[in-house]
Structure formats: C-alpha cells, structure tokens
Symmetry: C2
Subunit: 305 residues, 2 copies
DNA sequence: AAAACTAGTTGACAAAAGCAACTAAATTTA
DNA sequence: TAAATTTAGTTGCTTTTGTCAACTAGTTTT
C-alpha cells in the first residue's frame, strides 16, 4: 500500500473534520454553506451570471435559480439583464448582501482565531507557509510566475540559506559531497569580506518568503566582474526566473560600466550553460578536474560588454 | 485585518473545493459522505455504539438510527446487545461492509494518486511533511516531542541551513546585522577546515526534515573542547530539545575524555544561559563588547569534566 | 430560415437532516 | 430502595437540500 496516499487520506479526514463544514447551518447563520458559497462567488467576481455560478460550484441550475430568487426577495442580491445576452442576468451583491457576507466573514475569522490563538507568531508563520506549500503542490498550474518576488538587499539569514541551497541542490543533482558546500562557504566569506554595495550585488528570487533562486555580480580588478552563485531550485525551473536573474545581473554590469563579465562553471550544468549562452556568454577555457567526489570539466565563460 | 487568518480562510476555501466533499454521492457510490463516514467510524473502532457515533460525527440520533437500520438491512453492519448496557448495541462491520469500505478506499486512493501523479518523490515528501505540520499546529498538542528527530551526520545543505538559522534567528531576536552571519560563516569555514570526525560532532534536531535546532562540539588543544552553535528555532522551544542537544554534546565530551568544555556566549541569551547553568557550566569570564550593531557582554562558561 | 443549443424558470419529487415524542434501561437522588 | 432523572435508541413528522425533466425565450450554427 502506498503510504503517501494513505497519509494524504488521513490528512483529508482530519481536515474535513477540522473544517466543520458538514453541518447544515454555516456558522449558526440562517444560511447553508451552499448559499454562502454562492454569495461568496458573487462577491468575488463583482458581477456574474447564474450559469457561471453553476459551473464554479457544480450546482443544479434549477436549485440555484430558486436560491437566487430567495436572495432577491431578501434583498441580498440585485440583477440586471445582461447586455450581450438577453436571456441572462448580471448578478451582484446589494449593500445588505455585502454586509451579511462581511459579518459572516468576521465570524469565520473569529473561529479561526480561536483555533490558532495558542500558536506564537513563528508557529503561525510555519502554519501559513505549510498551507501554501500544500496548496501549491496540489494545484495543477503549480507555481505562477507572479508568485515569485525579486529583491537584492541582503537580510540576516539570506547568505546562509543560499549556501544551504548550493549544498542541497548540488548534492542532490550532481552528488557533490559536503566539501562543495565548504567551498561555497569560503567563497561567500571572501565575498562578504570585500563586499562593496556600490560594485557588488546579489539578487534573490523568492517564493513564499523562501529563496528559490539567486545570482550575484562580484567586482574584480581591471573593470571586470564575476557572475557567481547562479542557482535555481529544481522545482522552480522553466518559469523564466533564471532569465530574469541573469538579465538583472548583466544590466547591472552595464550600468556599472564593467568591460567584461566572466563566470566559472562546470560542463555538467547543462541548463545553466544554455542560459549563459543565450545571454551572450562564450566559452573561453575548459579544464578537466576532479573535485567534490566527481570528475568534470571546469569551464570559464566570458561576456564582453 | 489579520493576514494570518485571511490566509487560512483562503486555504480552507481551497481545500474545501479540493476535497470535493460537497457533492452528494461519495465517489459515485450510492452512499453519501455521511454514510461513508459512519461506516468508517465503525471500522475504525472495531466495535462501537450508535451514541458514540453521534458524538464523533455530530449527527442526530434519529437520523443515525435510520441510516443504521438501512445498513443492517443491506447487511453492511451487524450488532449485538451490549453486555453492560441493555439499551445499547455493539455495532461492527460485516464482511461485506468491510469489502464495500475497502473498495471505496481504493477508489479514494486512486483519486488522490491522480492528483499527485505529477509530483516527483521529493515533492511528495514535502507535501506529506507540510500536511503533518498543518495538522500538528491545528491540533491541541501542537508540536509533539516525538515528532522531533535527531542526527549527527553532516549531509549537503546542513551547514548552510545552520548558518541561515543563526543569521535569521539572531537577526530577528537580537537585531544582529548581517555581519553576525558573516562571522558565523567564518567560524563554520574554520570548523570544516579542521574537522575531525573522531573529535568533532554536530547534532541537529529536525522537524519534518527541516533543521530546527543544533549544537556542536569542536576539539581544542590541551584536551579541551568548545561547545558551539547552540541554537533553537523559537517555535520549538520548551520541548526539551535544547536539553537533549546539550546532553548529547556533554556526553560526547565525556566519552572522548575531554577534561574541560567551554563555550562563548553573550549575556543576552537568557534562555540558553539557563540551560548552560543547568548542565553545570560556570561563568569564567565576562567582557563588554560592541559588535553586530549591539553592545553586550561576551561571556565564557566552563564545565570541568 | 430551420435546427440545435443555451440561460434561466418551474413543477414534481427524492434524499438528507432535524425535531420531538416515545420506550425501555440505567443512573442519581432523596 | 423507590421515585425522579437521565440516557440509548426508535419512530413519526417536518424542513431543508438537492435532482430531474419539461418549458420559455433568446442565441448560435448550419
């Protein structure tokens, strides 16, 4: 028996009970969960047709029709004949409908408050993060480009996390030993020692407040710069994050008037190599080495600006 | 408006839709979700009374009574008058009831399989871990001591994550600047340079495969050892994790026959200080310093073994 | 312009759930 | 220990919730 599946089922049972949505009256109001969901859909889309609601909530149109009739009578909704389809109506909430919904929302929030009141703020953070993770993993479209944020100020914990990503990702994908992480630690220490906010920069791509990708530009003598630590969590590839990071990095180099940017990489990083080439980087050196428990080619790429 | 609450509400709406529990027929069977939940409860507790079921599932006893009557007629359950209460019956599933439930379980698992088939194994792991976290946090008992695991082999990504924790926690709790993280990076680099598996060790406490606490013993000249990097994520304090880590560390020192263990800390770490003293450490030096954007006392504690 | 389709309404009905009165046994109380 | 109260389960009656199919009137396809 598949344990992942059974663990998920167990969670589903737990959450069904937790949601407490199987009782008829939603939050002791005189409305059922279905009715509230209808009102909620109306409020969400500002204006909507009955047809659309049946699609979203999977309701019988006859059933819905009667519920809407009652809502009209109770002045919770109002509707006007649709412009482009004279059979249909555009439905929206009246003020008292909005009011009702907000009262119920407040009630629902109170109930949730009660359930999390014993958690401290970091536990709440963990809870929300975990919920987001569950949701993202269970959603078809997985991660949306818009959910990724970018920044370049270094805050406490960032560098450590980037080191962690390097160790974890290279360990998993290329079987690099912990020696590689040690090497990364060294490079970051040197970077921080010589760090010049004016001529160095590190960009981070974040998802759910967690770094999932990064790249940095480190100034070098003779108007050169080195591009370093270009990395993307495997779950976040193919979203244009890498391209965005590299573009920011190269733009920064142009802005700072560096004459040449170079980077050191290995022949194993096929995906990163493709992106470097796309940005105009060209192979200038290649040398076979044995390190971190593997044999590979260490390569240098250059981009003249 | 409290964002934690609204994020949870959003997740609840998502999960309600995801669970798909609002349709009448459970998994296209001729049974409703309520009926299946009843069967499930009966199967879980091997033998149960109707009263108990109404309590667990919050059902009307008249309603339940009729459902059970039907189950009896359909030979899904059987019941015998209870020994200790002649009004009540002990209910249990018949073979065909068990059979029905297992068919439905298989269906349910198939459905879940379908929803997670696109996830790779590490994503599945993350999913289950996150569900466990959600569940633990929403359950009274919060995080249980048994959910914490301990290990001391360094795997790729560990050191980076520990550096991250240092930066993030000290940044948040004591407002230390990123310079502190840089200092931690340096200490870890030195540690890895001189690392001797024989005389050094680092312990990690994990929750859901994520490091939440650590401590290390680093050998020093003259049969001394230094205790370093003792740290605990604030959400995981008060669970005995710190004590366990320190005990492991001191036991290791005894086993390795170090004559003295010392540690350097600051007067700000009140909680850690209490634990050090509890383990027998004594203050041997105290000096005012100004570092990482703060003024404080740097203190040395020693424990003779 | 006819045929096929769609948005919404309505009647008839079935299933799900709740409420209250009842029986019979168990427990509490005086 | 007998009367009063409570409890497990049943049954009749009712409301709520949801389904199905037939219908109107407007829309789209052919």
């Amino acid at each position: 028996m598949n344990t992942t599946t059974s663990k998920i089922r167990s969670f589903n049972r737990f959450y069904t009970a937790h949601l407490d949505i199987l009782s008829q009256h939603y939050l002791d109001s005189e409305y059922s969960l279905t009715e509230i969901r209808i009102l909620y859909e109306i409020s969400e889309s500002k204006t909507i047709t009955a047809q659309k609601i049946t699609e979203i909530l999977n309701l019988d149109k006859g059933y819905l029709s009667r519920i809407l009739k009652r809502f009209l009578k109770e002045n919770l909704i109002e509707r006007v004949a649709s412009e482009d389809d004279k059979r249909a109506f555009d439905i929206k909430l009246t003020d008292s409908g909005t009011e009702l919904l907000s009262v119920l929302n407040a009630k629902s929030e109170n109930k949730i408050e009660g359930k999390i009141e014993k958690l401290n703020s970091s536990e709440k953070e963990i809870l929300v993060d975990s919920m987001n993770t569950v949701r993202n993993l269970l959603t078809e479209n997985k991660i949306a480009r818009e959910d990724i944020t970018y920044r370049h100020e270094i805050t406490p914990g960032d560098i450590g996390y980037i080191i962690h990503l390097h160790g974890a990702i290279y360990g998993k994908e290329y079987n690099f030993s912990t020696d590689f992480e040690k090497y990364v630690i060294k490079t970051f220490y040197d970077f921080l020692e010589k760090y010049s906010p004016e001529n160095d920069r590190i960009w981070m791509a974040e998802y759910n407040n967690k770094i999932v990708g990064c790249v940095a530009i480190v100034h070098q003598p003779n108007e050169e710069a080195q591009l370093r630590w270009f990395l993307l969590d495997s779950a976040f590839r193919g979203l244009g994050i890498g391209k965005r990071l590299l573009t920011e990095a190269v733009d920064f180099c142009k802005e700072k008037k560096f004459k040449n940017v170079f980077l050191l990489t290995t022949n194993m990083q096929d995906k990163a190599l493709r992106m470097y080439k796309m940005m105009g980087f060209e192979l200038t050196k290649s040398e076979e080495v044995e390190e971190w428990g593997k044999t590979f080619f260490e390569e240098r790429y250059d981009l003249r600006l």
